[in-house]
Point group: C2
Chain length 230, copies 2
């Protein structure tokens, strides 16, 4: 592993000189100063992808939501909490990025107006209205002269249909889909992915997230470099 990293950093790995931005983890959308809406993402897959990209020689910026993970060696980390903060952190750095890998499980919705004080438990029912967050991945993919974009899709049903739909609708270059039905994929150390691009797909079998991330990064590097059969 050390040999791989050193090769990547000093001897021209498959992403040598490429500026990579990876998003990871969940976001937290506050309801009030103590309560928030979030999701089961642990950030492990994204941190593994950031580590694998650094091993492959890339300059890696990791924009992370709140997680309990150490920053991988050689990776620059930017911590954020909400989807809006992640949007701002990513858009501020997108122009200097060649390759954008969006593994974060960004909250789709937030409270329009979080309460400034702790909401007291009074009524039997608490109605909440959530509003849509900006779509970070679609915003990056829509940039003129923007980076090569790789999305992630975590789905409980119809994995391929949704993943292919996201690839088209957001104008991505690649999408990595994983099945999260029955708690699979979240907060566990292994995972499996099916990667789709226009005209092709590849299944990466269940394995440790770090090994899976290396295979994914190798696949992205081949595609990014134009060496992938279409």
């Amino acid at each position: 592993q050390i040999v791989t990293a050193v090769e990547g950093l000093f001897a021209g790995g498959p992403l040598a000189g490429v500026r990579v931005m990876v998003t990871a983890g969940p976001t937290r959308e506050p309801l009030d100063p103590v309560r928030y809406l979030t999701n089961r993402s642990s950030g492990r897959m994204g941190f593994a992808v950031a580590a694998a990209a650094a091993e492959a020689g890339a300059q890696v910026c990791l924009v992370s939501g709140p997680v309990h993970l150490d920053t991988p060696r050689g990776v620059t980390r930017v911590d954020v909490e909400t989807a809006l903060q992640m949007y701002e952190a990513v858009m501020a750095r997108a122009a200097g990025t060649d390759l954008f890998i969006a593994t974060a499980a960004v909250a789709d919705y937030r409270m329009a107006q979080p309460a400034e004080r702790k909401i007291k438990k009074q009524a039997d029912e608490l109605p909440l209205t959530l509003v849509k967050n900006p779509d970070i991945l679609a915003a990056v993919a829509a940039l003129p002269d923007g980076p090569f974009t790789v999305g992630f899709a975590a789905e409980t049903d119809d994995l391929e249909t949704y993943a292919q739909g996201k690839l088209e609708a957001k104008g991505l270059d690649m999408i990595a889909a994983n099945d999260v039905s029955g708690g699979r994929g979240f907060d566990v150390s292994d995972n499996a992915l099916t990667v789709f691009w226009r005209g092709g797909s590849l299944s990466l079998p269940r394995q440790s997230k770090s090994q899976l991330a290396r295979e994914l990064v190798a696949l992205i590097a081949r595609h990014h470099g134009g060496c992938l059969p279409s």
Copy 2:
């Protein structure tokens, strides 16, 4: 510390032979298989209280929501996720408990009907209706011949008013109040508490959560044993 623990376990600490149940951590209330509502509780205060009670000679059962903490030595741990699961775990064991210390930040509300499949991002606004969870602490305090009950109140405003109100409304024996305005008290290693009982109160100054827990447990032991000025 080892000396304290050994004294507690073998030489009759202030809670020797007392059966203590502690709840700790947040709960997670699912919206769908991947999203949930939760709060900033790290569980550290509750785990410190469980450890301090075990050191003081108690038989300790710790009912914990999802946290990233190791079980304290000599403590039996029961893991739960939702408020309903915590309610069931606590009520099933309440009859065999002498002293109940409720530090958990139990979600006040849950989704009436979590979605079985991941909710798709479609509408610009997502209306949610949350319904009230059972009040675990009040339910335990209302048990005939139930345990001595100690509650916690985390408030951003009017700390004493709310804490005294909770003590009365829920029929508790003691309540420990802490100020969580500006992020204080959550996911940090130190804390301060003001403890109220009918006819008295005591402020425990800011210190490490483990030392604070020892002082709190000593205070509870004196009160539980009937040796506290009223």
